[in-house]
């Protein structure tokens, strides 16, 4: 339900609410709106009937035990919609080979068509701030060039996203690397 719609007034009725022409106040909601209506707005039954059925069960069980569910917010999820999408023209899986102050070099493996691996240099400025701590030798990132369709506006974009491993796994890898170095240093080569 659109939060910019007018609030229910004396000339409106439940039919106006159900058709999405107006918002509703809480007291009328709890009296008049059918049990499954909030979940229909949140979960698309045609997409995922098993999730929708589960949500309905929760609603009915709560009603029977006299526990009121918190009133769900009728806000259309932002940023995720079947209209908004990214159409990839070219994709690479890349492995960082070398990191310098302002740039890093990587090997590119073409994911779109078969071909030899290539190398390229990237500016660190091209990487999202939160991903910059992931830039190190051996780390993997995905580079995609394509069209981004957002709210009807198409733009051509270059997108870099680093592969994210669970934090404990990264610590594990670092620990394994340290252990390997210790073992190597402890071997007395003749």
């Amino acid at each position: 339900m659109n939060s910019e719609l007018p609030l229910l007034d004396t000339d409106s009725n439940i039919e106006d609410v159900m058709q999405g022409r107006t918002c509703i106040n809480l007291s009328l909601f709890s009296k008049e709106i059918p049990k499954d209506y909030p979940f229909k707005r949140l979960i698309n039954p045609s997409l995922d009937s098993s999730v929708y059925e589960k949500a309905q069960e929760i609603s009915y069980e709560a009603e029977e035990s006299n526990h009121k569910l918190a009133c769900p917010q009728f806000i259309q999820p932002k940023g995720y919609s079947y209209v908004d999408r990214f159409e990839a023209l070219q994709k690479w899986e890349c492995i960082v080979l070398e990191v310098q102050d302002e740039s890093f070099r990587a090997r590119l493996i073409d994911l779109t068509q078969e071909g030899p691996d290539e190398e390229a240099e990237f500016s660190i400025q091209e990487v999202s701030e939160e991903d910059r701590k992931l830039i190190r030798r051996g780390s993997v990132f995905y580079w995609t060039i394509g069209y981004n369709d957002l709210k009807g506006q198409r733009t051509r974009e270059s997108l870099i996203r680093f592969r994210r491993l669970p934090v404990w796994r990264e610590r594990d890898i670092d620990a394994a690397g340290r252990r390997a170095r210790e073992l190597r240093e402890s071997i007395h080569w003749k």
Partner: protein, 220 residues
Amino acid sequence: MKEKRPKIQTHNIVLLGDFNPKILHPTWFAAQGLIREQEAEVAELVICHPEILIFSLDWLALEVSRDRFKAETVKESHYEAIRDLVKGTLDLLHHTPIRAIGINKLLHFEMESEEQWHNVGHKLAPKDVWDGILTKPGMRTLTMEGIKQEEGVMGYIRITVEPSVKVHPGVYININDHFKIKENQTGQSSNEAISILENRWNASLKRCDKVVSMLLEKLT
């Protein structure tokens, strides 16, 4: 025939198993390093309940119930990110029993005309069978299933074709590449699911594209 690109394309990975939805909150994913902290802060949390959790980021829609986990994206740029997220989750929750994994694509194609659109239905479901039984019969949905031919893999490939509700005149094709995971001691089924994502995900998506291309070639 010119290769047809879908108007809308979605990729999801579905796990069937035993889950605890409430722990799979955006903040949990960020704490584990699987999504950015900033993404968790702006996540749209639709429902957070012991029975069901749903949230979305700009590139991810996650739905988890007690027996089903689904991670989905409409952005081609983030197909690998979806795979990595599911792998990372399985890695962390390695005792979660997993019974099956589905690598799926949902595609909406625009037809060149209403006539071409109707012909798709006529070819898949010839109407003469229904003469005298239904008035103005039309194909609503068709699902075909085929066996997997990969060695050491149990499962099936299921293809569903329907008129699209998002594109008109359009055809919706859903490819479900279903892998059944052998019943095993706890802890090993998630490893098998991770192995499928590591070794078969790429081939599965390529197979999806090939299958759809062959199907459209025959239908249009």
